[in-house]
């Protein structure tokens, strides 16, 4: 498929360009806050993009995706606490543990469909939440402060705001590119086919759940990377990272931007977190405005923001 010039692609390219140039703007204006905000946004965009892989392309409505943010974060935090500061160890461990968790949870959850799948993924994430709450050696409920960010042997300094931002951005672009390749590959075709009509896919010879499970693991692993980034960003990890409302936020980001659109979750995350930031400056009841706003978008903008842009460019 050739890339088409339409509104959604143009917007995606513009947003990517703005994200890339953001540190320059921040340096020129001395606005450090915007860089901090967008570091967080970029990390959550990676998490949302990973969720979109299973939710938008795979039709698996996981309501427990924040668990991977916590698992990736705790892998970094616990290793740092135990004196292992090298990112070359911390990050692969974060990915491996996330993958393993996704494999076990996926193998169990994927026996169910629909609402049951939503509830069981939620239940497992809450279990992870309570397990980490019980880790008294690592701060329990109060969480764990990370005193030193991951050390990459001088290759990159994560304590440098701009360098860390670009690392996060590279992970996001890398993640989105990877998802793009996957979605268009043989594997991706099968996963999307199963979303469209599982019975048909079985009938022509695909073991649907095997492909679903692998997709689930890939998604969880990418989100685990976002978790490792997030822990480094906040220098802190706590059970609250994987609370169910956080999983809900991720789902909203995906739906807002456009499920099954490659760049949609990135846009959705930006809109969600910027709105949250702006509204919370006016009132502490910002959720009262945010809620109905989201409702309107879901009700009237089928396919999220990217869906609307796509229709505009066809009109």
């Amino acid at each position: 498929m050739k890339p088409h010039i339409n509104a959604s692609n143009v917007i995606a390219a513009l947003v990517a360009l703005c994200l890339t140039l953001l540190p320059l703007y921040s340096a020129a204006t001395g606005n450090i806050f915007i860089l901090t905000l967008f570091t967080r946004i970029v990390i959550f965009a990676l998490a949302a993009a990973s969720l979109n892989l299973i939710m938008g392309y795979g039709g698996m409505m996981s309501f427990g995706h924040a668990a991977y943010l916590g698992i990736g974060g705790y892998a970094v935090g616990i290793l740092a606490y135990e004196g292992i500061g090298s990112g070359f160890i911390q990050w692969p461990v974060a990915l491996a543990v996330s993958a393993l968790y996704a494999f076990v949870i996926g193998a169990l959850s994927l026996r169910t469909r629909g609402v049951y799948f939503i509830m069981i993924t939620l239940a497992f994430a809450q279990m992870a939440y309570y397990v980490t709450s019980g880790l008294s050696r690592y701060g329990g409920d109060d969480g764990l402060t990370i005193y030193k960010r991951s050390n990459f042997a001088g290759l990159i300094d994560l304590s440098n705001r701009v360098q860390f931002y670009y690392l996060c951005l590279a992970c996001l672009f890398g993640g989105v590119y990877l998802i793009w390749r996957i979605v268009n590959s043989r594997f991706g075709m099968v996963v999307q086919g199963v979303r469209s009509n599982e019975q048909r896919m079985q009938a022509i010879g695909f073991h649907a759940n095997r492909y679903r499970l692998v997709c689930f693991v890939i998604s969880g692993t990418i989100c685990g990377l976002a978790g490792a980034l997030l822990a480094n960003n906040t220098d802190f990890i706590s059970p609250a990272t994987m609370y169910w409302t956080r999983s809900g936020d991720l789902m909203v980001m995906v739906i807002l931007g456009g499920m099954g659109s490659l760049f949609g979750p990135v846009i959705g995350t930006i809109v969600f977190l910027v709105l949250e930031e702006v509204l919370s400056q006016f009132t502490e009841y910002w959720a009262l405005i945010m809620g109905p706003l989201l409702l309107l978008i879901v009700l009237f903008a089928h396919g999220g923001i990217m869906g609307v842009l796509g229709r505009l460019s066809r009109a």
Binding site: S196, R200, A203, F206
Partner: protein, 259 residues
């Protein structure tokens, strides 16, 4: 296995499947010989689709056995049966609605071209998959509709696409569940002509209500009533069978008129 070559391609023995108190398949036995077009007919509720679903593995029997190409497949999941060369078309169109016609067929070809744990190369650019899809679409007369979304195809085109998808899995046995359902007169005629071509290449089990089509196509006909086989034989034997006439009392004229 030499004896599998000589024997029937599909052998069903004493198959039973109940739903609650109702026996939808009642001690049913059936042989399908290689190279034949074997039609299964029967009044509504005779258990035809239930039988097909057990043959393809969407539904498991309570007891009995199914052998395919000399191998027992009674408990195999449907994706494995497809790998062995058993393909079905669905009575109620069952395609991937948000994919193009070509995608639907290419996926069927892909399913029989090694595993699909390939994450990098673009599947839609793989020439041999696209060529296989185009070939199957051409067979059923849909070549020019390759890039149309399934949800935008007409009902008749979707029925033809069902067939193309089944063909793309290179089956040894095609199970066709009412391929003529809901088709107009010209579309039906086209489907019959198509099946006449296909029966030369592949063994077919055809479930169909359209008696004219059945008697025009079948080498052998099996009649089901309440999940049981009441008659099995060549079209002439079935046409003159008294028990069949009685079972089809309402539709009797259809059976007889063709003679």
């Amino acid at each position: 296995m030499p004896d599998s070559l000589a024997g029937p391609l599909l052998r069903v023995e004493n198959l039973v499947r109940s739903f609650g108190g109702i026996k939808a398949t009642d001690n049913l036995s059936l042989d399908v010989l290689p190279g034949q077009l074997h039609a299964i007919i029967g009044p509504n509720g005779a258990g035809k689709t239930t039988l097909i679903s057990q043959l393809t593995g969407q539904l498991m029997p309570n007891s009995g056995t199914i052998h395919f190409a000399g191998r027992e497949i009674t408990w195999l999941p449907s994706y494995q049966r497809s790998r062995l060369g058993l393909a079905r078309s669905f009575q109620i169109t069952c395609l991937l609605p948000d994919f193009t016609a070509a995608d639907n067929v290419a996926l069927a070809a892909q399913a029989h071209d090694g595993h699909s744990f390939r994450f990098w190369g673009a599947a839609r650019k793989e020439r041999h998959l696209r060529d296989a899809a185009q070939a199957a679409l051409t067979r059923v007369g849909l070549a020019r509709r390759a890039d149309v979304l399934v949800s935008e195809l007409s009902h008749g085109e979707q029925r033809e696409l069902e067939l193309a998808v089944a063909l793309a899995t290179k089956p040894k046995l095609l199970l066709l569940d009412e391929p003529m359902a809901g088709l107009g007169v010209t579309e039906s005629a086209r489907m019959v002509a198509l099946l006449k071509e296909l029966r030369k290449e592949v063994t077919i089990v055809l479930v169909e209500h359209d008696m004219e089509a059945v008697f025009a196509l079948a080498d052998r006909i099996t009649v089901l009533v309440y999940g049981r086989v009441i008659a099995s034989g060549d079209p002439n034997a079935i046409r003159t069978n008294e028990e069949v006439k009685r079972a089809y009392l309402g539709d009797q004229h259809v059976v007889v008129s063709h003679g």
